[in-house]
């Protein structure tokens, strides 16, 4: 079995000020050699994602399994979810696109292949793309995301490329549950269905995971939380994959809208609420480092997490571009060095003083969720109306912790609903479900009133303040004003 490096927070000088001690940074749990690998990876570090960008290249159209949350009609510009792309690329086009993006966005450090099918069901195209990127842009980290069916046969080759992260989507270890999620797999030249299909897939995933960790490749496990199907079971998945050496477990919510045409969408399978997702993530967190800020990107996303600049880099535009490789390399190195320097500076830290005083004053108040509009820098600095996502924190008497992100565009259903103020506001309020307050830099009167009507307190008094300090201050103020009384006690007195 793979030896897992003991997870311990660096005790000596290895503990960098930027990541140690911050409860909101899941990277602090990781051993030093893994943190070194992921510090500038936007998907793995809440801090890095404000500075470093990533891109997915859609070179892998074919798939060898069917998942009930996926549909292979993958061309919709209005949707933002995995498996969706607008333009399928040949490897040579993908390499050119990577160079174009590397030139335009020097802080782009990561290229992933995630579909729209399965990268390892398209091994020639996937590995040709990785070879080309390694040749022209060797500073770029490579990632691949797979369903795992073909992983054992490609594990050795993956470990030979400059690929330091592989993501395996593992939704179950149980073939009965698997048969509910996967209608078929293509295996040894046959389409296999039902439990037999699930058994093959599960075996291959687990073997692939073991083979990669034995070879020193970082493995993250993604799981899609499907209420009533695998939600309880994912706690066991978390335990098992960690024991086999996976370094992160990312529990993502099912995305299932009828208009996506997936099995789950069509059959009206409910997606988890933000709170159901959070409580499962909390339940798994005891066993595993969890990833709270995954944005469930498209298979052709480009830019910082939560933004998509894909439209700037269509093949038509890229074909017309000329590149000076040496100049690009030099500029990238300079930009990335200055970001690393910026990140290494002691960042505005969790307000420990205000938290301890908070503990005294508001010990009796319940934990609440608060959302923050931020453009980055760990500061409340975004206009409410400009936010396409919110950072969600839990504030309680014991402190403030980062819970995850809520996107407002995740469930965009098409152009009829896009860019219209009223619908955008409705989407934002839906995304904020369960939050008691939202902190932002500024906010208009219409959304202010709508938020109040929805029971969410808008707040712009803490504009430009460090996030965790601002959340703690607002929590204290609300507690002192009696706005956080436990609903149950009110009900009891009424009854």
């Amino acid at each position: 079995m793979a030896t897992t490096t003991p997870i311990e927070i660096g005790k000596k000088s290895g503990c960098s000020a930027s990541s140690c001690g911050s409860t909101s940074d899941q990277m602090s749990h990781l051993p030093e050699h893994i943190r070194e690998k992921v510090f500038n990876h936007p998907c793995y570090s809440e801090q890095a994602h404000h500075h470093f960008a990533r891109m997915h290249v859609a070179v892998a159209p074919a798939c060898n399994i069917q998942c009930n949350y996926c549909n292979r009609k993958y061309d919709c510009a209005n949707e933002s979810r995995p498996g969706v792309v607008s333009e399928l690329l040949h490897p040579d086009q993908a390499i050119k696109k990577v160079i174009a993006v590397a030139a335009a966005i020097p802080q782009m450090t990561v290229v992933g292949i995630a579909g729209p099918g399965d990268p390892l069901a398209n091994p020639e195209r996937t590995f040709a793309t990785f070879r080309g990127i390694a040749e022209y842009a060797p500073d770029i980290k490579l990632c691949v995301s797979t369903n795992g069916l073909s992983l054992p046969q490609h594990a050795e080759e993956l470990s030979r490329h400059n690929i330091d992260h592989v993501t395996i989507t593992i939704n179950t270890l149980d073939e009965e549950i698997g048969a509910e999620i996967y209608p078929w797999v293509f295996w040894n030249n046959r389409r296999i269905r039902g439990r037999a299909a699930a058994r093959i897939l599960i075996e291959q995933q687990q073997r692939g995971l073991e083979m990669l960790t034995e070879r020193g490749v970082l493995v993250k496990v993604n799981s899609v939380m499907i209420p009533g199907v695998n939600d309880e079971h994912l706690k066991e998945v978390s335990r098992v994959v960690k024991s086999k050496g996976a370094f992160l477990h990312n529990v993502m919510p099912l995305i299932a809208e009828p208009e996506h045409g997936t099995y789950y969408g069509t059959m009206e399978q409910p997606s988890p609420t933000a709170q159901e997702l959070q409580s499962l993530q909390d339940a798994c967190a005891g066993d595993m480092n969890m990833m709270r800020h995954c944005r469930q990107c498209r298979a052709d996303a480009v830019g910082l997490l939560g933004e998509d600049r894909g439209a700037e880099f269509t093949m038509e535009k890229i074909e017309a571009m000329e590149f000076d490789y040496d100049e690009i390399r030099a500029r990238r190195a300079a930009v990335q060095a200055s970001i690393a320097e910026e990140m290494a500076k002691p960042k505005v830290q969790v307000a420990t003083v205000s938290l301890s005083s908070l503990k005294r004053r508001v010990a009796a108040t319940p934990p609440v969720l608060m959302a923050v509009a931020s453009k980055g820098g760990n500061v409340v600095n975004q206009h409410f109306g400009h936010a396409t996502e919110f950072l969600v924190y839990e504030a309680s008497a014991s402190g403030v912790r980062f819970i995850g992100t809520r996107r407002t565009d995740q469930y965009c259903v098409g152009s009829d609903h896009c860019d219209e103020g009223e619908d955008k506001l409705a989407l934002a309020i839906t995304a904020l479900d369960g939050c008691r307050a939202v902190l932002c830099a500024r906010i208009g009167i219409t959304p202010w009133e709508a938020l109040e009507a929805a029971g969410i307190k808008p707040d712009s008094d803490h504009a430009m303040e460090p996030i965790e300090e601002a959340v703690a201050a607002l929590y204290t103020a609300m507690a002192e004003a009696g706005e956080l009384e436990i609903a149950g006690s009110v009900d009891a007195s009424v009854a």
Binding site: P61, A62, C63, N64, Q66, N68, N71, R72, K73, Y74, L88, P116, G117, A121, N122, E124, P183, W184, F186, N189, R190, R191, P258, G261, T262, Y263, T266, M267
Partner: protein
Amino acid sequence: MALKIVAACVNCWACEPLCPSKAISAAVPHFVIDAKKCSECDGDYADAQCASICPIECAIVDAAGVPLNPPGSLTNIPPEKLAALA
């Protein structure tokens, strides 16, 4: 004896590398099977390879025009629901 790819095809490339007769090629608006080369995998495999990996129902039909993967057979979505979607 030959299979045919029809308009439902989404150009996902899954079938192309599997064909033992090299009968499948990319084309516009969708992939095509060269009827002169296609053997329906007879003698090579128990099942036609293109139809065994194709994720789209009704995208591959036989000489009589009958889909090898009829509605609902790959997604498990009941045909009446599929009809409502269209």
